[in-house]
């Protein structure tokens, strides 16, 4: 569903992301973690087609983001860390606007359901300025889910939410993955990533340093501590005190052709 090969993003001489490759399958939830400045947001923005990759290939639901950006974007939703809404559009107007942009055929029925699910029905004719941060986050989610995306990117989805909103957001993310979406989630909240994500990708200085399940990463970087949680592993990676990653496997010999 998401296939990334050799993604590199340069700013002048500075490499924000270097030769990143990974894939996310339908129903899979990938956690993107790393210290500040590791390149998480740049990666997510590149995957969402917001910033162009300098090198590499990104395929979203089969569409190459470089050659078919419109087709790719039609299949994805990107939720930024800060819900950026138009302050002069009501929630309903946001949904009308999004429906037209994504050409959603049965928009009124869909957004009525979304508003109901996200408990926004009574706020539908209010402006974002009248809403709490959590509510704005919900509006952003309603707009993003209106076109039933197959690929979803969350950048720090829990920032500024209260405990109840955090619980609901976690349920939403989990449900989306269960319903078959490929989800990539970037967060500093390691317990959230550990709790939700089936696989984890750790970035440091724009480079992939670990990719796999929590157990795989633990065995790779904290083999001496079987009880180490993701936080412990993360700190070891960030401070460079973990086990060195194993050398890359030697290039495999071409499979012998069948007689």
């Amino acid at each position: 569903m998401i296939e990334v090969e050799g993604l590199t993003k340069l700013y002048g001489d500075f490499a924000a992301v270097t030769a990143l490759s990974f894939s996310v399958q339908p129903g899979e939830l990938l956690g993107l973690v790393g210290p500040n400045g590791a390149g998480k947001t740049t990666t997510l923005r590149s995957l969402a087609g917001i910033i162009p990759a300098t090198r590499g290939t990104i395929r979203i639901a089969g569409h190459d983001l470089a050659t078919d950006p419109v087709g790719a974007k039609r299949e994805l939703a990107f939720f930024s860390d800060e819900p950026r809404l138009f302050e002069y559009l009501t929630i309903r107007q946001h949904l009308d606007f999004t429906a037209r942009l994504y050409q959603v055929p049965d928009a009124p029925a869909r957004y009525a359901r979304l508003l109901e699910e996200l408990e926004l029905t009574s706020k539908a004719d209010q402006l974002p300025g009248d809403l709490s941060r959590g509510m704005k986050q919900k509006v952003q989610i309603a707009c993003g889910l209106l076109h039933s995306p197959k690929v979803i990117f969350f950048d720090e989805p829990l920032t500024g939410l209260d405990p109840l909103a955090i619980r609901r957001m976690k349920d939403t993310i989990r449900r989306l993955a269960t319903e078959g979406a490929a989800v990539v989630l970037s967060s500093h909240l390691l317990h959230l990533v550990e709790e939700l994500c089936s696989r984890i990708l750790i970035l440091k200085n724009g480079t992939k340093v670990a990719h796999g399940t929590v157990d795989q990463i633990r065995s790779q970087f904290a083999a001496d501590d079987a009880g180490a949680d993701l936080e412990e592993v993360f700190i070891r990676i960030a401070t460079g005190t973990g086990n060195p990653p194993p050398p890359p496997p030697p290039p495999s010999a071409p499979a012998p052709s069948s007689p």
Partner: protein, 589 residues
């Protein structure tokens, strides 16, 4: 003064000196970027050419005595300045809010309010912090009024300006403190304003009563008589007494020698010191109001930096400008959104009523043809105003109506993630200001037509044959011109977002002023070049068409191909901007 004033002053000195040093350093360092370097060079060149060169040349070559006012003229100017100060002082009391007005920055609030600093020390901090700005304003005001030639006049004028600005600042704070006290004692809002207004009216009434009672009061028949009357008013009766403190404040500016200046300085400084003591001894609880004022100042600063000062007022729920079904041409969604952003003025209902009004006016004018003098006056006003507004809409419209990429730079993340080809996003974003400007222009054209018809009916009505064809030609050309004009600022916003941000008030200084000059010149140049092909095509078509239909009706006939050329240029512009949009980096500074 507060018992802990010295530590506050030392902290203030540290804050100001480090801030100034760091700001100057940052300014110098950013000159490494070409956009600031070019702006800096142009800005310095402009200031030199317009202000400093004249100053130095005059210093070197002339022995002109500064403003060189005759004593009578100086007296008039002094009285006018004093009157202006008096009006300001009175208006502060009438228009002030009910709470003390003393804004701190948000950083000052978070650092100083919880700090162990007395209220008066905090107040002194705020008063002293205003001084660099006041000094700078005095310097530039002195520079821009620019006719002070002798060093003495440079000093006396500059010092007086500093004194006046300091006094205005102190007076507005002192008045707001006094108003808060009155509010706490129950005299608030309109009641307080009415009391002040009554006092002012009593004073003005006393002056008028004196004029009426004066034995030499002759009827004012001409300008000389009016001057005599004002002179008499200023030299005797209550007016000189009422204006005296204000004249004392501005008098140093009008002195001609250093000894005269020193003599005039005494009363002015006394008033300044009196104001200072009035403010620091007021002991008004200003903290809560200061928090609110700081929040507002921060909002205003953020709005200015994002170039959205017009969005300062909290938005209201606005009706859809037109129904937006979920299927259809997607760029219309961006037009729809931006029309909502533009406000309630752009709903179909408002435009229906506006068109009805204009239609009625045009029909009445056409039917009566200037038969009534009242309608003729209205027509004259309507014609002049609409022509002026049309001209302004062409020259300034693109700078005023900014509901396009310029107002959505903060939302570029969202725009970039839309599943639309770039040209559709660009077109959608440009449509709203084109529609708004064109709608206004067509409206003004309607008024112009109506007004012009109202003035018609005379035998020597020379414009009669040109009236309808001219308006029709303009109506055909305006959308294309608007589209072309709007391409320019949006191109700048997408290709040079940092330049565009600087244009919107992010940072100041000579280099930013220079950038604005460069932009204005570039804007004019590109506009001329852009309009040239349409002008040539239109001109040629007009020449051919006038052979057949005459010069007047050749106008709309020629306007049509010219409009098509403009449209083609716009399409090419959208195509080019689509490339720029594709390459726009939301992370660029």
């Amino acid at each position: 003064m507060g018992n802990n004033l010295l530590p506050v002053i030392s902290a203030l000195w540290f804050l100001q000196s480090r801030s100034l040093y760091n700001a100057a350093k940052a300014r110098l360092l950013r000159l490494r970027q070409p956009r600031y370097l070019i702006g800096g060079i142009v800005g310095i060149g402009y200031l030199w050419a317009v202000f400093f060169r004249r100053f130095f040349q005059t210093r070197a070559t002339a022995n002109v005595g500064g403003w060189d006012l005759s004593s009578e003229t100086a007296g008039w100017v002094e009285a006018a300045a004093a009157l202006a100060l008096a009006v300001y002082a009175v208006s502060v009391w009438i228009f002030a809010g009910d709470r003390a007005s003393l804004a701190f920055t948000e950083a000052e609030v978070s650092f100083l309010m919880p700090a162990p600093v007395s209220r008066s020390a905090l107040l002194n901090f705020r008063l002293l912090r205003a001084q660099p700005g006041i000094l700078l304003s005095s310097f530039f005001f002195n520079l821009f009024t620019g006719r002070s030639h002798s060093p003495f006049e440079w000093f006396s004028h500059g010092f007086t300006l500093w004194l006046v600005f300091s006094l205005l600042f102190l007076h507005s704070i002192g008045a707001s403190f006094a108003v808060q006290r009155l509010t706490e004692r129950g005299l608030a809002g309109w009641r307080r304003r009415l009391v002040f207004l009554a006092v002012v009216l009593c004073l003005v009434g006393a002056v008028f009563a004196w004029i009426q009672a004066a034995p030499a009061a002759a009827p004012v028949r001409d300008l000389d008589a009016l001057q005599d009357r004002i002179r008499a008013l200023m030299s005797a009766g209550p007016a000189p007494w009422l204006l005296a403190p204000f004249r004392w404040v501005v008098r140093p500016w009008f002195t001609r020698s250093f000894s005269e200046f020193l003599g005039a300085l005494g009363p002015a400084l006394l008033i300044l010191v009196g104001h200072y003591l009035w403010v620091v001894r007021a002991n008004v609880s200003f903290e809560e109001a200061a928090l609110e004022a700081s929040r507002k100042a921060a909002v205003m600063l953020a709005a200015a930096r994002s170039g959205n000062l017009h969005q300062l007022a909290p938005p209201k729920v606005r009706r859809d400008p037109f129904p937006l079904p979920s299927l259809g041409f997607p760029p219309l969604a961006l037009l729809w959104k931006n029309l909502i952003a533009a406000g309630q003025l752009f709903t179909g209902r408002i435009w229906f009523f506006a068109l009805m009004g204009i239609g009625t006016f045009v029909a009445t004018s056409a039917l009566t043809r200037g038969a009534f003098s009242g309608l003729q006056s209205a027509s004259m006003i309507a014609t002049s105003v609409s022509m002026m507004l049309l001209l302004m809409s062409l020259l300034l419209g693109a700078h005023v109506v900014r509901h396009d990429f310029r107002s959505d730079l903060a939302q570029m993340d969202m725009l970039k993630s839309l599943p639309l080809p770039a040209w559709q996003v660009v077109l959608g974003q440009l449509l709203a200001p084109i529609v708004i400007l064109t709608a206004f222009q067509w409206l003004f054209l309607g008024v112009l037509l109506g007004g012009s018809l109202g003035l018609s009916g005379k035998p020597d009505d020379a414009i009669a044959p040109w009236r309808f064809p001219g308006v029709l030609a303009a109506a055909l050309l305006f959308p294309g011109i608007n589209a072309l004009v709007l391409l320019l600022p949006n191109t700048i916003a997408l290709l040079f977002p940092a330049w565009a941000s600087a244009q919107q008030g992010r940072g100041g200084g000579i280099e930013v002023m220079g950038q604005r000059l460069v932009f204005s010149l570039g804007f004019a140049l590109v506009l001329v070049i852009g309009l040239l092909p349409a002008g040539i095509v239109g001109g040629l078509c007009w020449w051919i068409a006038q052979l057949v239909v005459g010069p007047a009706w050749a106008l709309p006939i020629a306007a049509l191909p010219a409009a098509l050329v403009l449209l083609a240029e716009f399409a090419a512009g959208v195509w080019g901007l689509a490339f720029a949009f594709d390459r726009y980096d939301v992370t660029s500074p």
